[in-house]
């Protein structure tokens, strides 16, 4: 028989079942650590419900033992009272310390809560924070033991640092030492970002920085003898640091020992330390192995990047005679290491092949730290994984065989976006539904199991977008595969779109559904990274087709209200982009691109006499504009012009060439200068057929893509209103020069990158080649700021001053403000 005694609120049967003991079960006496009884005690103890557990054998009859389980319940928490802080903080305190009712109150809980709260307040600068917790038993509880808890929080006053005193300092300036103390700052009303406070752990870190500052300046023996904290009556503290500076040292002879792979000369070039230089232990350490930069230019990496995983480099001071230190840099090269197995873990969404093709460390290859680092960076850039959490794990490292396995651990992150929005704009309600999947798997699209919630893992992009208002509807679909065919990084992309636009009916103030303009477009493209001349070159090709269909819809674009027009074109582009490192704020490299967009030369083979049509059109235009003629004659002429234009634009015939080039160069520190040149030309194969009114250039303003029907290109030129520097129909030729100076305000922050800029720009567009004059430019200058946040993209504001008059005006344009969303100049 088993009985349960003691003060417990649990039923006897529950306790017995939980303990795992059963009537009629065989038990061993005396108990050992393996016995059922010991196991039962352990099980009950692990439940965290009891403060004491005893199992007795109450009596033995023959080979039958009766057991007694004696239990004492832990008291449960009933109520928490907090004193000394604002009510609004109560919830946080209770949540952080898990002080919800029903929690078992142990000594440990009380102590950790006290410590946690005290250290939290100390970290905020309440140096004298004191937390005491008292518990009191609840007397009215019937079946359970319960206690109330009272938290007495005495925050004390916020303590600031009044003064930092260095004793024994002669050689270095106090200012320099204070600057080295990154965390602990003296009280100063001007400094807003870094508040003065004293936190012990941070202060200790600062003491190390002080010594490092000495070491950097040759004081190798500098040390801190003691430091003390003095409380002042006005709620501040003074910090006293007692120093011993020691002597200043310089370098003597530096010798390399044990290097067989690299020559002394090469190693010296990396070390960059000469005899007679001021001894700098910190710098020496960095040149040998820079812990702060995993891809730093140091001796350790020289070996690590060429397979010498097991190499070790130790600088040893061989003599320190008369403050001159002779050094020996002892190198143990070890065997070169080779990768054996490469594996990836954590990819519960992305398929292996998408990841492995990006990995630069392959089985059988010589170990290279640089390859590992590059792999991590490139896996991060895929956008499927959290870039901060990609880790290389070295496994089965075997120094004897010179082999190692590498396991990349990744953490998937959501890479799909859903956009659903509604708003007023363009004269009515506009609704948008956008879906974009950045790690799609099109091959799984018909597999039912793959929908969790969508087929994912092949690294493809799929986007769908629907937009509708009373006046127009747009549907678009696009898909791209970065490794088309799976053998090479040739990206394939395709898109389909359809836009329906209705004419505004002023009578009903509504859309007139009978008068509409439809545009249907389709494009297919391939882009390939080249290896010659170097692997920054990308060759891209695309075929696009657009069909314009008008029904009783007159716009400035067409002289005919009914009819259609087709734009079938082939685009080929060559670009080279080696800008680095941060795509938001490049500090080096350049970006060039040349593109050509061509249609077929229809007029060569379609046997239409465009010359005759051109002459007829000119005649008809004369009639149309002749106000002395009757209306019906003029209308007939207008109809004939429409007919002729319909013939001319049935298939758009054109070629278009563009060039873009920009350079990034550091000026001082992180300040970057960016010169940029742009040029574009739109031409016709048949001059009688004429240059099409589509695909034209519109210069001026912020250059952001407007709602464009006709393939127009908006070219930015700050300091002037949008598209103000081109004629009504747009230019067929343009050029632009720009010089921008950028200064980073903050780049390190994860939340936002901000930089300021100043610019000089000049550019112009021309209606035809005869007017082209590369020196008749519209000039401007100005300044602005850019803010990049991952959730919003790039935002910015620019103030530009136009020095030249707008077309048709006489005075200079003056200031113009531009708001920039999601585009870079």
């Amino acid at each position: 028989d088993i009985i349960v005694t003691g003060s417990t609120s649990f039923g006897a049967e529950t306790v017995i079942t939980y303990s795992g003991l059963r009537k009629g079960q065989e038990i061993t006496v005396p108990r050992t650590s393996q016995s059922k009884i010991a196991e039962a005690v352990k099980k009950l103890w692990n439940s965290d419900l009891f403060s004491s557990i005893n199992i007795y054998i109450s009596s033995i009859e023959g080979n039958v033992a009766n057991l007694e389980i004696h239990l004492q319940d832990l008291p449960e928490l009933k109520d928490v009272k907090i004193e000394g802080v604002k009510k609004s903080k109560f919830d946080d305190i209770i949540k952080d310390n898990k002080l919800s009712p029903g929690v078992k109150v142990t000594e440990n809980l009380i102590k950790t809560t006290e410590n946690y709260l005290e250290s939290t307040y100390q970290k905020k600068g309440f140096l004298k924070a004191n937390v005491t917790i008292t518990t009191s038993e609840v007397t009215d509880s019937i079946d359970k033991q319960r206690v109330n808890m009272k938290l007495n929080i005495d925050k004390g006053n916020k303590v600031k640092v009044k003064d930092i005193v260095f004793n024994g300092r002669e050689k270095l300036k106090a200012k320099k030492l204070k600057k080295a103390m990154k965390n602990t700052k003296k009280k100063n009303p001007i400094r807003i970002f870094k508040r003065s406070k004293y936190i012990e752990a941070d202060f200790n870190e600062d003491l190390v920085s002080i010594i490092d500052t000495y070491k950097e300046n040759g004081y190798r023996d500098a040390r801190i003898i003691s430091d003390s904290l003095i409380y002042n009556p006005d709620n501040t503290v003074s910090l006293v640091i007692n120093l011993e500076e020691g002597e200043k040292y310089t370098y003597g002879d530096i010798k390399f020992l044990g290097n067989t792979v690299y020559t002394d000369e090469l190693l010296n070039r990396i070390l960059r330390i000469n005899k007679g230089d001021t001894y700098n232990g910190v710098e020496l350490k960095k040149r040998i192995q820079d812990e702060t930069k995993p891809d730093g230019d140091d001796i350790a990496n020289l070996y690590q990047n060429s397979g010498y995983l097991f190499s070790s480099i130790t600088p040893v001071e061989t003599s320190a005679d008369g403050n001159v230190i002779d050094m020996e840099i002892r190198i143990i090269e070890g065997k070169p290491a080779y990768f054996n197995k490469i594996s990836v873990v954590g990819n519960d969404k992305t398929n292996d092949h998408v990841i492995y093709r990006e990995i630069r460390t392959r089985p059988g290859q010589r170990y290279s730290k640089a390859d590992v680092i590059r792999t991590i960076r490139e896996l991060g850039q895929l956008g499927f994984f959290d870039a901060q959490q990609i880790e290389p794990n070295f496994k089965n490292v075997n120094a004897n065989d010179g082999t190692l396995d590498m396991e990349y651990s990744v953490v998937e992150r959501g890479s799909s976006q859903i956009e659903l929005q509604g708003g007023y704009g363009g004269g009515g309600f506009i609704g948008t539904l956008g879906l974009s999947f950045n790690n799609f798997s099109i091959k799984d699209i018909f597999k039912k199991d793959a929908y969790k919630p969508i087929p994912m893992g092949d690294g493809q992009k799929l986007a769908l977008r629907l937009q509708a208002s009373r006046f127009y509807q747009t549907y678009s679909f696009s898909f791209s595969e970065p490794w088309f065919g799976g053998k090479k990084p040739v990206s394939f992309s395709t898109s389909l779109s359809h836009t329906k636009q209705f004419l505004y009916n002023p009578a009903t103030r509504n859309a007139d559904k009978d008068r509409r303009f439809n545009i249907t477009g389709l494009s297919v493209g391939l882009a390939k990274r080249l290896s010659v001349p170097d692997d920054y070159f990308v060759l891209s090709q695309a075929i696009s087709f657009q069909h314009y269909d008008l029904k009783n819809y007159n716009t400035g674009l067409f002289t005919f209200g009914n009819g259609s027009s087709n734009n079938l074109a082939y685009t080929i582009g060559l670009s080279r982009n080696n800008t680095n490192v941060d795509p938001i704020y490049p500090t080096g490299g350049s970006n060039f691109s040349v593109t050509a967009k061509l249609s077929l030369p229809y007029s060569v083979f379609n046997k239409v006499d465009y010359k005759a049509l051109k002459e007829e059109r000119a005649d008809q235009l004369e009639i149309q504009n002749n106000t002395t003629l009757s209306n019906s004659t003029r209308n007939d002429a207008a109809d004939r012009i429409s007919e002729i234009d319909q013939e001319r634009f049935k298939w758009l015939e054109f070629y278009k060439v563009k060039f873009n080039g920009e350079w990034y160069a550091r000026v001082i520190g992180d300040m970057v200068l960016r010169p940029k040149v742009e040029f574009g030309f739109l031409g016709a194969y048949n001059n009688d057929r004429g240059v099409i009114p589509f695909e034209r250039y519109f210069v001026g303003g912020d250059g952001m893509g407007t709602y464009s029907l006709d393939g127009r290109e908006a070219i930015s030129l700050r300091g002037y209103p949008n598209q103000s520097l081109s004629s009504q129909d747009g230019g067929t030729i343009y050029n632009k020069f720009s010089l921008e100076l950028r200064y980073p305000i903050t780049l390190k922050s994860q939340q936002a990158k901000i930089y300021a800029l100043a610019f000089l720009e000049a550019g112009a567009s021309y209606d035809n080649f005869r007017d082209y004059n590369p020196f008749a430019l519209k000039r401007s200058a100005g300044f602005g700021i850019r803010l990049f946040m991952p959730a919003f993209g790039l935002l910015g504001i620019d103030f530009g001053h136009g020095f030249d008059p707008l077309p048709g005006q006489a005075v200079k344009h003056g200031w113009e403000t531009h708001f920039i969303i999601g585009q870079q100049f």
Binding site: N340, D348, K487
Partner: protein, 254 residues
Amino acid sequence: CSEFQKAIKSEDIAVKFKMGTDLYESGKYRKALRLFDQIVPKYRGKPQAQKLMYMNAKAHYEVGDYYTSNYHMERFVNSYPESEKAEEMAFLAAKSYYHLPPVYSKEQKETVEAIEKIQSFINAYPNSEFLAEANKMVKELDFKLERKAYEIAKQYHTLGPHNRDYEAAIKAFDNFILDFPGATHKEKAMFYRLDSAYKLAVNSVESKKEERVRNAIEYYDSFKSRFAESEFLEEANKMNAELIELQRQYENKG
């Protein structure tokens, strides 16, 4: 108001238990689970708990909620190791793991875990009636790991020209053949290893060519002796002929 709704709202746990049992026995697992969810904590420590835990765990299994079913089943086995249902529960717990892993091309930690769980079931119940099925599951899961390793090695082969690296494929197939001695993909693995070695040899720089030709011929020999009837043999023979020709040139020179 149906009887089920009444049972859901009822205060009497015995009513819920009865109704849940009926639903369970007639195969309406989802409805049964809704009742079980309400009463499982209340029956803890009571004599009916064993039956209830059994039904609850099994119902989770039947509706395909394998994450939960293996948890309840393992708990059942721990709580009632002497029960006559313990073996069945242990088996279904292992089988729940079998259902969890994703496709071979994604992370396989669940596969490895499932193999371990099923293996420990086999060790615990060596005479079980479920043994055959358990072995079959282990085989299937092993095959998944094999396929994963094979496809990764094969991709090194596919990307060989792009990466200008055939050694990665050779090394990866070497490891594959070593790790999966009885592999289904062994024939293909050995053939593509030969193919990689062949391409490495014929495209090699002169200084390493002789050695690489010799290695490739070795891979051919081991492929031919193991798979004399292979569908790839004709292609392999062609490679070999070319390699032998190259080797002869070196011998003549030497």
